[in-house]
Symmetry: C3
Subunit: 290 residues, 3 copies
């Protein structure tokens, strides 16, 4: 896939969502649901947040895509999340996993361990979270670096490259690592891209909203293109919104810009950092040099 082919596919994904208005239901944290839903609507999708096991299972069967974000896990998630993930897997519904707060409790660890069997289509997280998930699933060695502080990353995106590739190889989908630069990989192609704004870290829920928007694009595109489209849309709109210079105005301008972006604008402003890696060899279960 050449860079030009990628640009064309990104434009297509952005425009397809505007035309088809796909629904991506979410099980997501209570802090940022408003932002997630408004971002999903702004790019042209439709949103619905759920908690009950049976309705998550029912929606997992009929929705064109789904989003699971582990933030603010509640006790009844012990039943809801595995039910939903199993239904998503069985029905081959594309879904995005955001493993926020990995390692904070036994319940999260248990649920995230179970998710290994259900292979999320896209995994999105910061560097620390991606590394922690690859470790939990034993796809990289225990001595691989990276720690989580609350919901923030303590690692650079580049340090999670091998972990991201290992996860993508394992799931057969895509992995996106968010940070100052963003990395998106499907296990063979790996892209670092740039844009956005430091102000994303000064408002709550940027990462959650990004995951929710990935699920919207996953309804119309391959996992790799969906992950890259959402990442690029956020980078482009974030760069524009950064003119605001202060966080609450930034958030308003960011959502406003999301609403107006066209496929052509996104394709044109997609910024690759360095070159696109195409890895030809990969040894499963072994830690790679990143």
């Amino acid at each position: 896939m050449t860079e030009q082919e990628i640009r064309t596919a990104l434009a297509q994904a952005v425009d397809d969502v505007r035309e088809k208005n796909p629904l991506a239901p979410s099980i997501t944290n209570t802090v940022t649901q408003d932002f997630v839903a408004n971002a999903q609507l702004a790019v042209g999708g439709s949103a619905a947040m759920l908690y009950l096991p049976d309705e998550c299972e029912a929606m997992a069967k009929v929705a064109p895509a789904f989003y699971i974000n582990m933030g603010t896990t509640m006790p009844f998630y012990a039943e809801t999340l595995p039910h939903a993930a199993r239904a998503l897997c069985d029905n081959r519904t594309p879904w995005v996993l955001d493993p926020v707060g990995i390692g904070m409790s036994e319940l999260r660890t248990k649920i995230l361990s179970q998710f290994k069997d259900f292979k999320p289509t896209i995994i999105r997280g910061n560097a620390s979270e991606i590394i922690a998930l690859a470790k939990l699933w034993q796809l990289v060695g225990d001595n691989y670096g990276g720690q989580v502080r609350g919901v923030d990353s303590t690692e650079k995106v580049s340090s999670a490259k091998s972990a991201a590739i290992a996860l993508a190889k394992f799931t057969g989908g895509a992995v996106a690592v968010s940070g100052e630069e963003d990395l998106v990989t499907d296990g063979t192609k790996t892209i670092s891209c740039a844009g956005g704004s430091i102000l994303f870290t000064k408002i709550t829920g940027s990462g959650c909203a990004l995951g929710g928007v990935m699920a919207i694009y996953a309804a119309v595109a391959t996992p790799f293109i969906a992950a890259l489209a959402a990442t690029t849309v956020f980078n482009v709109a974030g760069t524009t919104a950064a003119e605001a210079q202060v966080p609450a105005s930034f958030k308003v301008k960011f959502l406003d810009t999301l609403y107006t972006l066209t496929g052509a604008e996104v394709a044109q402003n997609f910024r690759v950092v360095g070159t696109i890696d195409s890895m030809l060899t990969y040894n499963f279960g072994m830690e790679l040099n990143s």
Copy 2:
């Protein structure tokens, strides 16, 4: 009731709320609580969101009005919602029901079936939801049209007219159907009114906020006037806010405008579509031609 009398009553409701600052506690979805509460405050009311069965029951007894929105139902709602609704009914506290997500799970269906006994004062929903509720309560035939996709309507407001009238006849209160045009009925008078903006569908929680504001007006006005006042206030403020053209700025301007609207402005900008229907005959339990 002439159109002029209606205008006068609308102005009165808007001004009374500013003067009396009534509290309408809510059991409502976690996605849009912030928007619901801010809309309630902006029109001059007071807000409180609750989950526990005993405190919902206690507030249902003392509050001048109450709001129940079925979005993001959680497992413990099985106890909370029937407790609250029974207390509201027993104490004749006016309450607004928004049957979001009707049909998505056994628990929702069970709770909404129970609500038939507790007769909500105002029912607000999109066309699909109103039709589904009238079917669930067996007030219209099973072959009446209408389906729900997630939280969005697949039906036009006009197609829910008979269902809305049947529900209002049954409860003795009012029903509001929201959409491009809005329909408000008390079972005998039916009004279609216009205004607002397509941008209401590009932000999350417009319908929820509308229901919450109806509960505020229900503390000072009849069900019909309360439903119509909230609908009109949203239409007028939505029309003004539509100048923003983009969704996040629209939401800010909408809330700002809600805060400044006077009763006189609302009465003046109330826009009836066609004429006000006064239905003289109605056969309970039979499907009407809409």
Copy 3:
């Protein structure tokens, strides 16, 4: 502590938070989590909201400060809150308690009674809530005034002065009473300060956000200075934001201003009402003249 020393300490707290980016995890109500988190980020802190007993306990042990807000109590809080508070107490982690909704249910009363043993570092509430908590803990007589309506206060700040002092004496920390004027006390020093805007009462979550920001400052300052720093920061930014004149724009401008305030600006705009009281005598368990 002279007024000049207080100004210096306020400036220090504001600047230290910007430099150290402390994390204050929260167990807080679902309505205003977005506002709380964004306010915490805007002043330079870091946010994480939690529900599960074991992860609240784990974070209570490692975080530099913590925030517990009783709004929208859910059934599983019966386990979560006492676990968290015990861990906070055992580990001497500074924590802020906002007793929203005190008296609304048996569960809230039971949990708030248990908190007496765990001595919150800072207690923040409106006048009615502070009085109710002092009564519940039997630190003032039952005939002391004050009632709660939903989440709003029915009392003036000044009427809660003795209750606030009694609570601060008992915990050895600080108490902040929010209202038109704000009162902050550590049981010996009592300050009334001014600023802010009536628009704080027209948006939801001002009090919650204030409590969350107090927890951020409690990570770097004494309880008294932390409570006063957050109060002053809100007063200064609220005064600036009041130019907006309407509530949603006010909230955006308020968060934007929080993000830009420096320690020097906060110190310079700190407004004491009257003089700083230093009470020399205090009889535990007796009602004081305020």
